[in-house]
Symmetry: C2
């Protein structure tokens, strides 16, 4: 089988921790080049910008973008304009209209765009979705709490508009919720806790519902430590589901359920490969849309300044 | 031809100024009932709530909802659950996820949901869209400015989360922009001016672009008077388009262009009627999505307190 020739753009923490190992482990991809302002990846050709890479490497077929959201939009436009398939790290854009514009470009060029949501491929998510499909759901409680100093050291962009603040991890929970629940969820209310010296929230408390009126509570907090808490609890008429460890552990009525085998980023690249072969696009902005809703409806409360 | 039996919910300024005359002038609709907490409409049966109306009037086929966005979601759910066709005044929800949830319900029941945008039916909009479809667009400038005291007297809800602030009129401009431009637009930056005693902005300054990099500036201001300014200017390689008076006057290169004949609300009801007969849904949340984006990316500046 012919390998798909790809380039990876934005060599930061997520690229080194997740993308590079996932690509290296997948025999269907051939990583030929990287672009990064500062970093260099061994064993491939390196360029300072995506534009330089596109100019020098016309045979690259697909570009995986994992820079922060604000610079990523321009990169995605350039990659699509050059006729490449594109995979976007989460969130797929700094805002929703960017995602629509990119999808329109991909549609026009016939290339595959994939808005990846890694948490949807956590080991327990598919089993949770299957179980919940037939359940009478009564209540949902999302607790997604971590220490920002541990998980986002030195990432100043995360506190600026476009960086999402506590929704940067929180959007992972929303990507799971929109995947495992059988009906669309709608935001009812939102309270945002904004540090006095920042633009973006350090914590958020959301109330959601669905078309049948199920009550859902979502708590995001970056002031939590030392152990992170990434869990979703669903009570149904017949039992209780607990998805913890970011979706990688699933318990139903306190018993562990057998899990999937393929980890998050390998599963993402596998999915992208399938989409490219089929000539399909996969664009789902619903998790980002819920975040935008949380800002639109958000009551803002100013809290203690945050110093890293 | 059999008339469609309808009910109108939320009898405020927009219902009396626009909906009631438009329905009365359309022989294909039969207004049989209204619901409002306080108001009564002559010549039809009146109920204090939509729920009471649905209970008493099972033969009503379609429900037009023009209460403010926050109570409207629950009303739309109730109407769809009762198997009615639904038309939503703009904005179609307090947030985007509400619109998705309602669309899912309408899909499941096979009923017509219509997210109406009255400004898209202003007299010059369709001609503007047709002309721009083949133009090389260079710059877009939206100026949408009015006196909030004149246009929203006593509407306290408009300053609360869900009420949109200056985006309540501004979303009309965005509904036109997303209709007349040939490509999707994406938000680049947003500055929101928030009165010190309010939650929602009294002015907003947006920068947008499209997939080809056209620069677009959008100015919304509620501190403008005495005459309102509702205009969109598009410069192209060949000329200049000016859509003014909220879309009801169209000039190309300073010459007036012949306009449509049917005014905004009559055109909305005509469109809803067509959708119902065809068994189709028309759900477009893009104008609201741009507003949510403006909050998501918005830099907030506190300005002088507003007292009505």
């Amino acid at each position: 089988m012919k390998k798909i020739s790809i380039a990876l753009i934005g060599i930061g923490k997520i690229a080194r921790d997740q993308h590079l190992p996932a690509i290296a482990a997948d025999p269907r991809f051939d990583l030929v080049a990287c672009a990064s302002r500062n970093a260099v990846v061994d064993g491939v050709r390196n360029y300072p910008t995506l534009e330089a890479l596109l100019e020098a490497e016309p045979s690259v077929e697909a570009v995986s973008l994992c820079a922060p959201p604000i610079p990523r939009f321009q990169q995605a436009r350039a990659a699509l304009a050059a006729g490449k398939h594109v995979m976007l790290e989460k969130p797929p854009g700094a805002c929703l209209s960017e995602v629509r514009a990119l999808d329109e470009m991909a549609y026009a060029t016939g290339k595959t765009i994939f808005t990846s949501w890694h948490s949807r491929h956590a080991l327990g998510v598919e089993a949770a979705r299957t179980w919940l499909a037939t359940q009478d759901i009564r209540h949902v409680h999302v607790r997604w709490k971590e220490d920002v100093r541990r998980w986002h050291p030195g990432q100043a962009w995360i506190w600026e508009p476009g960086g999402l603040g506590v929704f940067d991890p929180g959007i992972n929970a929303l990507s799971i919720v929109t995947q495992i629940l059988p009906r669309e969820v709608a935001l009812v209310s939102s309270t945002l806790s904004i540090p006095a010296n920042k633009q973006m929230p350090i914590a958020a408390d959301l109330e959601l519902t669905d078309t049948t009126g199920v009550k859902m509570r979502v708590e995001f907090d970056w002031r939590h430590g030392p152990e992170e808490l990434w869990e979703i609890e669903v009570r149904t008429a017949d039992g209780a589901l607990l998805l913890s460890q970011g979706g990688n552990r699933l318990q139903i009525d306190e018993r562990d359920v057998a899990l999937g085998l393929v980890h998050e980023y390998p599963a993402l690249y596998s999915r992208w490969h399938d989409l490219i072969l089929r000539g399909e696009r996969d664009v789902d902005a619903r998790p980002l849309s819920l975040v935008a809703d949380a800002f639109l409806l958000g009551k803002r409360e100013i809290v203690e300044a945050f110093e890293e």
